[in-house]
């Protein structure tokens, strides 16, 4: 069985760690962005699963695919994957994931924001790009998106380049690329945060606290029906 | 090449832009069309980041100017660092594309003279 597992398990590289940072959001709350450990995936999965029920803006497919990627990482069936989480007082407010394709190229998978209205998704996406370019020292990151809205915003915000010959792992569509040059052109206005994270916040961010499902759905959908009494 | 026109009152010579039925100065309703062009002073400006789907740029720069004739207009600025009071000169060029339609309008660049 050990031999079969060796065949089915991709070879693993030790990726340089993402150094945690702290971001003060518009609300004044402090969000810690840190790397999640493989053994923390079971904490993340229920919230991601809950979002597969939200049809709006492609939340359902993003969550379904991210669920598979995270579970795949947990069960040693995805090569060189990483996950960064955003935590406020330990509570999960967003996550991003991707993987290292080669020494020179990274692949961005997904971005899920659980807290809305505070640019959590923007901060986490930027952290992901920072990880690939500045910490994994890659030359470019392949990017694609399920949501037309999310995608067009990043395409314009970062000035992404087309890579027509590269079929993205997410469904085989044409990839877009954030190159090192493009990244450093935009870095000052897109990548923020302070290091090191103060010790008291490090402590609070040690354990990931998931969001209760009904609160999560309420946060994400902002539906006016909830006012009905 | 398209033109942007101002409306010169046949009665009193007052110049207006955009079109109105009546002259604001004398009330008469007949006008000559005169190209709106030349040197202008920048009155105010903004860089706009949240645009309609017709635009792929990250931002565009818009400004309100006052021509030497006293007529004011809004146009696109081809100026990296605009300053209120700066001297500009106009030209007409595409400002927007929607599907197969291209619309031309006023552009302003730093005036050399």
């Amino acid at each position: 069985m050990a031999q079969l597992e060796e065949i089915l398990r991709p070879p693993e590289k030790d990726l340089p760690p993402y150094p945690a940072k702290c971001i003060v959001l518009a609300s004044g709350e402090k969000m810690v962005i840190r790397q999640a450990r493989r053994d923390e995936v079971p904490i993340l999965l229920p919230d991601v699963a809950a979002l597969t029920k939200v049809e709006r803006d492609y939340y359902d497919i993003v969550a379904a695919r991210a669920y598979a990627e995270l579970l795949g990482w947990l069960r040693y069936r995805v090569r060189d994957e990483y996950c960064l989480v955003g935590l406020i007082d330990g509570v999960l407010c967003g996550l991003v994931n991707g993987r290292s394709l080669s020494a020179k190229v990274g692949v961005s998978f997904h971005t899920i924001a659980m807290r809305r209205g505070l640019r959590v998704g923007a901060h986490l996406f930027a952290a992901k790009m920072e990880y690939h370019i500045e910490h994994l020292n890659q030359q470019e990151v392949y990017i694609v998106a399920e949501s037309p809205i999310g995608f067009r915003r990043w395409m314009i915000e970062y000035g992404l380049e087309k890579r027509p010959q590269v079929h993205h792992e997410l469904g085989g569509v044409m990839s877009w690329s954030l190159t090192r040059d493009l990244y450093f052109e935009s870095r000052d206005r897109l990548v923020v945060g302070e290091r090191p994270v103060p010790q008291d916040l490090v402590e609070k961010a040690k354990t990931i606290l998931p969001v209760p499902e009904d609160q999560l759905i309420k946060q994400v959908t902002g539906r006016i029906r909830q006012a009905e009494s | 090449m398209a033109e942007v026109n101002a409306y010169v009152c046949k009665g009193c010579g007052a110049v207006a832009y955009p079109e109105h039925r009546c002259c604001r100065a004398c009330g008469k309703t007949r006008f000559d069309l005169v190209p709106l062009e030349g040197k202008a002073t920048l009155l105010t400006f903004t860089r706009v980041y949240n645009l309609s789907l017709a635009f792929e740029e990250r931002y565009i720069t818009l400004g309100i100017v006052e021509f030497e004739s006293g007529v004011r207009a809004l146009g696109r600025l081809a100026v990296d660092e605009p300053e209120i009071g700066m001297k500009l000169s106009s030209h007409v060029a595409p400002v927007r594309t929607e599907g197969y339609e291209t619309y031309e309008g006023l552009w302003f660049s730093r005036s050399s003279g």
């Binding site: 518009a26 923007a122 | 706009v48």
Partner: protein
């Protein structure tokens, strides 16, 4: 004109309608107001304020559709469109309908479902308010007009980005007590402006205005029931009278305004409203102003006569416009935090004032306000409505 009273008010929460249609959203607000009014008399006229039914929701004749949905046949019905001032216009025509003696009762509903399209499409939809040849084709958006105005206004009177942020901070704080608000999230000066993170937290939308200087795109509806004095007295409810209204227009293209730092239409509309009501700005206990952009709350507070020109930001800084201040402005959270479904806003402002004057504003209730004021700003200030309301008895 006869005296006109508000006898019922209601609204949806503002936010995202989801699978609710425009008609559903309008029905909900109307039903709340009808329940609140508990009228024995029939509703004789219906006015629906809305801007985007045609462009966004593929609907027309919404006034007639609402009579049908609400089973109010054979009441008269119209849809009233005046851009972001549709709500104010609908309240005005409803007031005139009852005040003229043509009808004894009017249901005024304002609503919008604009989150069914992308943010870019919503921006473009609102931009259709601008002058088609002289502004719209250039890529003008409402925020861009506000940005150009803000630059001049801030330079002229020494208003800082911090002053603008104070409006947002105040209104977000106020909305924490408003269960119908679109956004219930406090914000801080640190996160909005002072930290390096502000460049991402609060990016420019149209310089010098940033994301948190602009109201959100919202779905929702609000409704009021207007009636004669006899009907109001019979009901035994608090007597809230539409004491006065005023409206004024200005040039369409913003560059043609006589003075680009003056909101002349606001000043005229307010003067006319106070004139009709026989009241002065100093008499006002609570106001709902049109803070689609934070700069507008400051500018309108001056043009309406509450503060001298160029001092509105000082009053704000001194806390005079907070709920515990001399003149609470936007206790509801304003457009900034309560939200701005375009057609609903003018009516929602009236709903908040009606609730305040009737003692029904829940956690937000101020201490016995008697005179209220609203300002509903259409286009970029080329069509403005102001109202004065009074509590009697």
């Amino acid at each position: 004109m006869r005296d006109v009273y508000i006898i019922g008010a209601g609204m949806t929460k503002f936010g995202r309608a989801g699978d609710w249609t425009l008609i559903d959203v309008l029905e909900y607000a109307a039903a709340q107001a009808l329940k609140d009014a508990d009228l024995k008399d029939d509703i004789e006229s219906v006015f629906v304020a809305n801007m985007g039914a045609g462009l966004l929701n593929h609907l027309s004749g919404v006034g007639s559709a609402m009579v049908d949905r609400l089973c109010l046949w054979p009441a008269t019905a119209e849809t009233v469109e005046n851009g972001p001032a549709s709500g104010g216009s609908a309240v005005k025509v409803g007031t005139m309908a009852v005040g003229s003696g043509a009808v004894d009762t009017a249901l005024v509903i304002g609503g919008e479902v604009m989150r069914s399209v992308t943010g870019w499409e919503a921006t473009d939809f609102v931009a259709t308010l601008s002058h088609p040849e002289a502004e719209y084709i250039y890529g003008v958006t409402l925020p861009s007009l506000a940005g150009m105005f803000a630059r001049l206004y801030m330079d002229k009177y020494g208003i800082t980005p911090e002053h603008l942020a104070m409006v947002a901070i105040k209104n977000h704080q106020n909305a924490m007590k408003n269960p119908n608000a679109h956004i219930q999230q406090t914000v801080s000066m640190e996160g909005l402006l002072h930290r390096p993170e502000a460049v991402v937290n609060n990016p420019y939308v149209a310089e010098p205005l940033r994301m948190f200087d602009c109201c959100p795109v919202s779905d929702g509806a609000a409704a009021v029931i207007l009636c004669t004095k006899e009907i109001a007295e019979k009901s035994g409810k608090p007597m809230v009278r539409v004491a006065g209204f005023g409206q004024a227009t200005d040039t369409h293209a913003v560059h043609e305004r006589k003075d680009p730092t003056e909101l002349t239409a606001v000043r005229l509309a307010a003067e006319r409203a106070f004139g009709m009501a026989g009241r002065k700005p100093a008499d006002v206990d609570v106001a709902e102003l049109h803070d689609a952009f934070t700069i507008l709350e400051i500018a309108e507070s001056e043009e309406a006569g509450f503060f001298d020109k160029g001092t509105g930001h000082i009053a704000l800084e001194n806390g005079e416009t907070r709920p515990d201040g001399r003149l609470p402005i936007n206790v509801s959270g304003g457009l900034k935090a309560r939200g701005h479904p375009v057609g609903a806003t003018g009516v929602a402002q009236v709903v908040e004032i009606a609730w305040q004057l009737a003692g029904k504003a829940g956690e937000r209730q101020l201490d016995d306000p008697r005179v209220g004021f609203t300002c509903n700003f259409g286009g970029f200030g080329n069509n403005v409505l102001c109202f004065v309301f009074e509590r009697e008895g």
